[in-house]
């Protein structure tokens, strides 16, 4: 337990030191290396947002002739597919292909389906609710000049930092995770989880992994969640390096309500637990193949989430009012004060109006640890994505009637 906590603290401190003192920890980017790119855009019930996502990609400063968008709808019950087709018609400066799954099969398999249509050297899988910085694709591609790099991720910023206390908390968490927590993993080119919001991977590698993605199951139940962690893990096991390029930026809309956040965190926690079990099951393989830093991260980070449950339960039974004391609050307010200042300096768009709202993280951390971990442990058979509602939308509810113009 203590070791897990220590490693977390050490990782943040190491991130800080590496960021300031070791420029060599950063990858050597070669912007002249411009491979062909397929941007895979799996989509489910995103509505108009998918249009905005495609629009942001269309503004990319990567040569238009070198990339395409392959948007694959996973049987959305809303008008997402129509918005995809509208984008296809509107942004003619780039090549956009749209497709649809026969049945709803989850994000991971939708990506695999889209992959079938790609012939590019590089695949960038993105979330259909993200907005991309024009430099994003260029930044990601430049990292692949190192031949041993298999997957590269970008930094995910928060589009709606000031919507609520919950989004304010997530803004600080996201920022510190990408700018500090993952830096020590970057150092050894062994990031253990590249966010699925923005995931670049060599096509040959993805094709190699694809059968494993399609075959993922939990005692016969197909696993649709945590494909990003799985892909990153598989990349590492195949001897490739993984890296987060914080200059490749995309923006996501984080959950604004507690229930949606809870479901999202539950999904993430399930994938963390699943990944831990997988790591432990194949530990010898990991020990021989991977950098010790990677093994430690793969084992101790998820173990920390499980152990944290025991810590909180022990704390609540032995000293129930400890978490109501000033120390946790002061700690989180201190973190909020420092990080919000840093964010306002380096990422103006994410500037928090009420940074001290991060103090509420004390309460969320209790909820998150006590409820989410056991729930994740005992709902491993759930395939529910959680944050996408399967609501029926009638054509009368659409703002703009769209015509499927696919040819």
């Amino acid at each position: 337990m203590f070791l897990c906590l220590l490693i977390s603290v050490v990782k943040y401190l190491m991130g800080l030191i590496l960021k300031w003192s070791f420029p060599s920890a950063k990858i050597k980017k070669d912007y002249t290396w411009q491979p062909t790119v397929s941007v895979l855009l799996p989509c489910y019930n995103e509505g108009e947002t998918v249009y905005q996502t495609i629009e942001s990609i269309s503004r990319s400063n990567y040569p238009a002739e070198l990339f395409e968008i392959i948007a694959q709808d996973d049987c959305s019950v809303d008008d997402s597919f129509e918005w995809m087709q509208k984008a296809q018609r509107d942004f003619t400066n780039i090549r956009i292909r749209t497709g649809r799954n026969g049945v709803n099969c989850g994000k991971a398999r939708t990506v695999c389906n889209a992959l079938q249509h790609s012939e590019a050297e590089l695949i960038i899988s993105i979330d259909s609710d993200c907005i991309f910085h024009p430099d994003c694709m260029r930044e990601l591609a430049a990292c692949f000049s190192e031949p041993k790099i298999g997957s590269v991720g970008g930094r995910v910023g928060v589009r709606n930092p000031n919507d609520s206390v919950i989004t304010a908390i997530q803004t600080i968490i996201y920022y510190s995770a990408f700018q500090l927590y993952k830096i020590p993993e970057n150092w050894t080119r062994s990031v253990c989880c590249i966010s699925g919001c923005l995931f670049a991977i060599r096509r040959e590698l993805l094709l190699e992994i694809e059968p494993a993605i399609r075959g993922r199951n939990w005692f016969g139940i197909p696993v649709n969640q945590g494909e990003d962690r799985f892909l990153t893990h598989q990349t590492l096991l195949r001897g490739y390096g993984t890296y987060i390029n914080t200059d490749a930026l995309c923006w996501t809309t984080v959950p604004t309500t507690l229930s949606v956040l809870f479901k999202q965190q539950l999904r993430w926690r399930r994938s963390i637990v699943r990944d831990l079990f997988y790591t432990l099951r194949t530990l010898p393989q990991h020990v021989w193949k991977l950098h010790p830093n990677t093994v430690l991260t793969l084992v101790l980070t998820p173990l920390g989430a499980v152990v944290a449950l025991l810590v909180v339960v022990t704390m609540l039974t032995s000293d129930p009012l400890a978490w109501t004391g000033p120390m946790p609050l002061v700690t989180y307010l201190g973190i909020a004060a420092v990080l919000s200042w840093v964010i306002s300096k380096h990422s103006v768009e994410e500037t928090l109006e009420h940074p001290l709202a991060f103090g509420a993280y004390v309460a969320w951390s209790i909820v998150s640890t006590v409820f989410i971990t056991p729930l994740a442990l005992f709902t491993m058979d759930s395939a529910d994505w959680g944050t996408r509602t399967k609501q029926e939308i009638t054509t009368q509810e659409m703002d703009t009637p769209l015509v499927n113009s696919g040819n």
Partner: protein, 361 residues
Amino acid sequence: MSTPAINSLPTVEAAPPPRQSFVYKSILTLYRVFAIVVLYAILIGILAYAFIMGFYAVNTTWMAPVILSASDEKSLDFLQKLVTSRQMLQDLHVDILHQQTTLDEMTKHRAALEALDPELQQAIARERVHDQKTGPQLAGLDAQKQTDNAKTKAVLAQLDQTEVQIHKDLANGLITKGDAATQIAAINQARDAYTDSRIAEVLLTDNVLDKTTNGTKSMDVLEKQAELRSEIAQLDVTLAVSEKQLQEDNRQVDALRAAIATARQSPYYLNATGNNRLYFAFVPYENQESAKVGAPIYDCYLDMVLCRKVGTVKQIFLGEEDITHPIFKTQVRGFTVQMELSHPNSAKSKTVFLGRKPLLF
């Protein structure tokens, strides 16, 4: 990809779901049953935890039984202090008695000394009056004596010639030796009488001097008087100090008696000195209103339900105590009560309740 174009991809048909083996199905069923049980257990645990927290946050009748063993450190410490206090009290009593006796003696001595002073004054006065009376008389007699002696001296001068004549007569054989010796002896006797008279004169003069002037004798008397007064003053100081000491000792005795009386009101005293097993409970100040002598005590299952009466409050001790809250684990201030328990096992409960059943059943 060289030409931007609009393309629609063919619909991808889903692959058939993998067949689940019997083993997998069995494992999944077991897992789901186990998961449901565990998750419901966790849910019930969390709800129960939240309820207990809320219950103890608002309940004002709970108290925590405290079992004090005979070898309880606080009781032993208390007993040791009590024994020391009693010993001190005894020592003080002896000390006070001794001081009181000494004080009485000194008071008597002072009274005796003080009684001497006027007597001495009177004696001096009497002597002065006597001297004033006898002094002039003696002076007169002294003068008379001097005159007499002068006359005697003149007569003695004549006796010298008579003695020469006697010797001459003896030599001439005019008188016998016996007569001569007799006559000379008479002359010597006269001379001796004169010498005595002279001595008496000197003594008389000396006596007159004593009676008519302030001589060393009167100084001695005054010194004696001063010594007497000094001794009385010293006694006064000693008496004052002794009285203060006595007062201080008496105050200390009162304080010790009060402390011992308070100690007798402590559960630790009762525990340390009592022969029977006694039962105590800690009552937080928040629940003070419920703690009354004779109030019924209830013991409950799961610290709150299915309660039964197990005794009454026998005695309330006012001394402040603090313990760790049995549920919240924080320090709580309060006091102790002695319980009269009909069910001694309730002394081992985490909490018991005063006055009524906390949840009415």
